[in-house]
Symmetry: C2
Subunit: 230 residues, 2 copies
């Protein structure tokens, strides 16, 4: 039994939920509003960010990339051909490169600003940075998503999945970040058919279903969000 401290719109938390779904790991979810800096949560992760995974056997494991490495080391081998981290050194570099691309670069340039402005700010007190969304921040993030989508499309045309022939952490990281902003209708799918076709394939996996069925009161999902043939 695992406990995941997460937020439903935290793209890094979504990434870990997709991994757990693919591996059949049973997650107990605890919603954490990291901006409130709850003291007991800071003891789990001094950095104060979601996600944090608690596996009964181990001290708390903070951060998407660190959780992904942990899950691979603790449970990957028994997954056989379903393993999400490849075993050759060169392939591992490519999976980690793309994980970092989405968990760090896409997060900073696209998913973090959009989710913060459009979701988190609704729940933040004024002193925590709450208030109306910044049009400038959203405009910049929406411009950035276009080159990322083109990059995904280029990878998807070159390879079967983003990092190679098989589904890996790279696909789940990319899809997790995209899904958070797809809920908001902020992905210009019509601009890249290859990216759209790749996302449709990943989104139709059973591991995705829990994400698609969680809606936020007052913020309806975009028209494309739950549609598998968007």
């Amino acid at each position: 039994m695992f406990t995941l401290f997460h937020h439903p719109f935290c793209p890094h938390s979504r990434f870990i939920r997709l991994i757990a779904g693919e591996y059949g790991l049973d997650l107990k979810l605890i919603e954490e509003r990291s901006w409130e800096r709850r003291e007991a949560f800071l003891l789990l992760n001094a950095a104060g960010t979601t996600p944090v995974l608690v596996d009964e056997e181990q001290p708390p494991i903070p951060g998407a990339a660190i959780i992904a490495e942990y899950v691979d080391e603790a449970y990957g081998a028994e997954m056989g051909p379903k393993r999400l981290m490849p075993q050759t050194i060169g392939e591992r570099v490519e999976v980690r490169r793309l994980m970092a691309w989405f968990n760090e670069k896409f997060f900073e340039e696209v998913s973090h600003p959009l989710v913060t402005e459009r979701i988190y700010k609704r729940f933040m007190s004024e002193e925590n940075g709450g208030g109306p969304p910044s049009a400038d921040v959203m405009r910049a993030a929406k411009a950035n998503v276009r080159y990322h989508l083109a990059y995904i499309g280029w990878l998807a045309q070159t390879r079967n999945f983003l990092a190679g022939d098989r589904l890996t952490y790279a696909d789940l990281a990319a899809a997790a970040h995209l899904s958070a902003i797809d809920y908001l209708g902020d992905v210009p799918w019509s601009e890249d058919d290859a990216a759209k076709a790749w996302y449709a394939r990943v989104k139709s996996r059973p591991s995705f279903r829990p994400l698609l069925s969680e809606w936020l009161a007052g913020v309806p999902a975009s028209r494309t969000y739950v549609d598998l043939d968007f």
Copy 2:
């Protein structure tokens, strides 16, 4: 033979140089001014950031954390007790947590703003963001360094090295980021004796010598920078 695309003040590049020094890996260094977005460099790393390691056997490996994992997987086993990544799953979580703490959080809050304002901006054209340093940005970063130093001190009092009994990637990551801003005189060492004693130990390692002997014309190193008994 390895080639490292780096910048002398890029803290992530310094981290990789320290690893190479500890392991006796022979690095050919190529100075890259990543803000110039040189086309041939973008082909090595689409993210456009230093460091990038080229090992003859492999495609280019971008990013400090990814290079550290690669070096461990390719060369760690032969290092025996000098190996910088521990082998139990729990210890690996802690080393990765602290690597991420310094390579991501300390970088964003302290070393990146200070190095950008005080070093990179000297070399940047106006259109690349060059110009005089921002006093506001520097003030915020210098305030942040104090709580990070206290955290290092707390770890160093609790353990022999930052992640446990032995020297690991965690120590080298922390020391790499600190060294870049120590050159600038921006570490308030007098505030934390335990952090200072830990840094003095790491800094006196032979792997550190190349960093201490490189000075930048026009920006003299701080009084404490090369002094092993600062």
